[in-house]
């Protein structure tokens, strides 16, 4: 009896097995095994921050097309090191970059110039009459960046201003590409002094549009050494590769647009994030 059983199952197995073996032989597909292995090394969040459709696609691009291995931001230094070891190349690690919205003009500081009626999306709002905020550079607060963020690190405050929570940011850079007003920048995580304004308008115009705008007074540039803050027309720009003593610069800004983000803004409240998503 046991013999029958074994024979029967074994026989069926044998027939099926040989059929499969034949199929595998005639229908074989050649695949670079490294693609799969590299995909396993990647974090697998499929955020698309590297510019490819998911981790698998990026791994393919690295293995087959020789694309650089530094594009995976969420993976951080660890993934980079693993990838470098796997691909046999030198890794150069940098500091973690986090996104920051360079605008401090919330609804108390920067008034609106008309009633916008339409889709609640920054790109759409920006295209209608140039955006409803009087300041044509400021954050519109229609949460396009927050929707683009794969990890919910961007909060739209009650006063219609986008704020990045650096501790949640995975440096994918999606928000940077989404913002129609190009207000979001990637900066080293350890830096705490930022010019929270992106308005290139002249002082008087800025003053009319926002209470915390950069009026181009140049005072800050004189507080720092080695061109750590430079002027782009009427806008002060922090050069993040040069050191700044944040505590000394921030209080000197007459427009109150240089802020010291140390300590960083309070962590996101759970409920708040849910409401925005």
């Amino acid at each position: 009896m046991i013999l029958y059983t074994t024979l029967a199952i074994g026989g069926i197995g044998l027939i099926c097995g040989s059929a499969l073996a034949l199929a595998a032989r005639f229908l074989a597909v050649h695949e670079d095994p490294r693609v799969e292995e590299l995909t396993a090394i990647l974090p697998g969040v499929n955020c698309g921050g590297c510019g490819y459709a998911g981790c698998g696609d990026y791994a393919k691009a690295v293995v087959l097309d020789g694309i650089e291995i530094t594009l995976c931001a969420p993976g951080g230094a660890e993934t980079l090191a693993n990838m470098a070891a796997f691909m046999g190349v030198e890794a150069e690690s940098g500091e973690k970059q986090v996104a920051i919205v360079l605008c401090g003009g919330d609804s108390d500081q920067a008034p609106r110039q008309f009633q916008y009626n339409g889709v609640a999306d920054c790109t759409a709002a920006h295209a209608v009459g140039g955006g409803d905020k009087k300041c044509r550079y400021g954050c519109l607060g229609y949460s396009s960046c927050a929707r683009a963020c794969p990890v919910g690190a961007i909060e739209i405050t009650e006063k219609n201003l986008a704020v990045v929570h650096p501790e949640l940011c995975i440096s994918c850079g999606k928000c940077v590409r989404t913002c129609p007003r190009h207000l979001i920048k990637m900066v080293p995580e350890s830096r705490h002094a930022h010019v929270m304004c992106s308005s290139k308008d002249k002082g008087p115009i800025v003053k009319k549009a926002c209470k915390v705008g950069c009026i181009g007074c140049r005072i800050c540039t004189k507080q720092v050494e080695d061109d750590a803050i430079t002027m782009d027309g009427f806008l002060a720009i922090v050069n993040y590769d040069k050191p700044i003593e944040s505590a000394t610069v921030a209080p000197k800004c007459p427009g109150k647009c240089i802020v010291d983000t140390d300590p960083p803004p309070a962590p996101v409240e759970e409920e708040k994030v849910e409401a925005e998503v």
């Binding site: 110039q113 008309f114 009626n117 339409g118 889709v119 999306d121 790109t123 759409a124 295209a127 209608v128 009459g129 140039g130 409803d132 044509r136 929707r147």
Partner: protein, 451 residues
């Protein structure tokens, strides 16, 4: 009789309240030069013109102040004589901003000296005529503002055999083109003859909606003696009969292929205002420095068809029409269906400003966030036979690829869908969003390919 009814008509379309009676009977009046003219360098579609004057310069009317800024660009001329007070970025009526030249008029309104009329234009070559049009800085005056000289020079291999003159003026409220046809039919006809000569095409169709019988009669009268193949095509009154592709179909029964131009079916559409500008530029040698704008709406005290210099601020235009009676909650540059809402009256007129419309608070319908109830009215109304209901839901779910597959790029943003939508969804804005998204994606891909 030089008239024929339109044999074809696209499906879809809508019948809004036209309210043309406000200004249809009002003759065009010329507005005196206001105290400041702010002439934008972006009066057209394409690259802005390059400023050719400096602050403090004295200019004469018709003097070149902006040179072509690229292949698709249009020259800009001083609309009056005076002094350049400032050259600075200023908001445009379409919501963007562009460099503008502020001119303080000296009150003399003196023309530049080198004006050469060509009453003998019939002996000139097509090329010379096109250069005259180009020199005069003419852009399509129907609304889009495409440089006319570019339109008139089809690439080699393309034959244009039919010229359609767009006198449909299907936008509600607006009557500027209507009045031009009634008052200046003879000059428009001469403009048509000039274009006909440039293109070397025989067939001319003047398309007019049947709600303008006086314009039809006027155009027919001036065309009576023409021996060529020309006729007035009488369109059924329906929005958007004035849209280029729909009009070509109505007049000729030909469908412009998706992504193509009218010249792909051998047609060219010019607005009546543009045609008149061509006449002025060639026969009288005058550059384009003024246009007729319909200032209208129920809150306006004295609505009318105003011949105003380019660069006249909307506030001055309104003041000339004796201001408002009661409240206006929405100000629109252009017509109600495709015009641009304004948040202030600071913007100034350009070559494309066909109207300035003021709406009462009770006329303003705000868009809302109601979900689509799939009534299908937008599908029936769409003159491009799209499915706005489906598209807008896809776009709301940020599925731009699906929208692209359903041909959102063919949308002409005429607004029929949003007009009909009982849920008051911002359909046109959705389409614009998707189109902008697709274009951005394509640009990105192109850049990627290059690198």
């Amino acid at each position: 009789m030089k008239r024929e009814p339109a044999k074809f008509k696209v499906n879809g379309g809508i019948h809004p309240a036209y309210n043309k009676q406000l200004t249809a009977e009002k003759a065009i009046i010329e507005m005196p030069v206001p105290s400041l003219l702010r002439v934008s360098m972006l009066q057209h579609l394409g690259a802005p013109a390059k400023v050719e004057v400096a602050k403090g310069d004295t200019v004469s009317r018709g003097q070149l102040i902006g040179e072509h800024g690229g292949f698709i660009s249009v020259r800009v001329h001083a609309p009056t004589s005076g002094t350049v007070k400032a050259i600075a970025e200023a908001p445009t009526a379409t919501g963007g901003s562009a460099i503008a030249v502020d001119i303080e008029p000296d009150g003399e309104d003196r023309w530049v000296e080198d004006i050469t009329p060509h009453p003998d234009w019939e002996s000139l070559e097509g090329k010379k005529l096109i250069s005259l049009v180009s020199d005069a800085g003419i852009a399509g005056m129907g609304g889009a503002g495409f440089p006319t000289h570019v339109k008139l020079s089809p690439p080699p291999g393309k034959v244009i055999d039919t010229l359609i003159i767009n006198g449909a003026e299907c936008e509600p409220y607006l009557t500027a083109d209507h009045r031009l046809m009634v008052e200046r039919a003879e000059d428009i006809w001469n403009g048509i003859r000039i274009i006909r000569k440039i293109l070397g095409c025989a067939t001319v169709r003047v398309a007019i909606e049947d709600n303008k019988p006086d314009a039809i009669a006027a155009m027919e009268a001036v065309m009576a003696e023409d021996t060529g193949d020309s006729a007035v095509v009488i369109l059924k009154t329906e929005y958007p009969q004035g849209a280029e592709k729909q009009q070509i179909f109505a007049a000729l029964g030909k469908e412009v292929p998706s992504g193509g131009l009218p010249m792909d079916v051998g047609a060219l559409v010019e607005n009546v205002g543009t045609t008149l500008a061509i006449f002025e530029a060639v026969v009288k040698g005058l550059p384009l420095t003024e246009r007729v704008t319909t200032v209208t709406g129920f809150p306006v005290k004295a609505p009318g068809n105003i011949l105003a210099r380019l660069g006249t601020s909307y506030a001055d235009l309104l003041a000339f029409c004796e201001g408002l009676q009661g409240k206006a909650a929405k100000v629109v540059s252009g017509g109600p269906m495709m015009g641009f809402a304004q948040h202030s009256l600071d913007a100034t007129t350009t070559k494309t400003t066909s109207g300035l419309l003021f709406l009462r608070p009770d006329q303003v319908r705000t868009f809302s966030s109601m979900p689509c109830i799939s009534c299908g009215r937008c599908v029936q109304a769409c003159p491009m036979y799209l499915m706005p209901a489906e598209l807008s839901q896809m776009i709301e779910a940020e599925d731009i690829e699906a929208a692209e597959e359903l041909n959102v790029l063919d949308c002409i943003e005429c607004g029929c869908c949003a007009f009909e939508c009982p849920a008051h969804r911002p359909l046109v804005q959705h389409m614009k969003q998707a189109k902008a998204g697709i274009m951005a994606k394509r640009r990105e891909e192109k850049a990627k390919q290059k690198s």
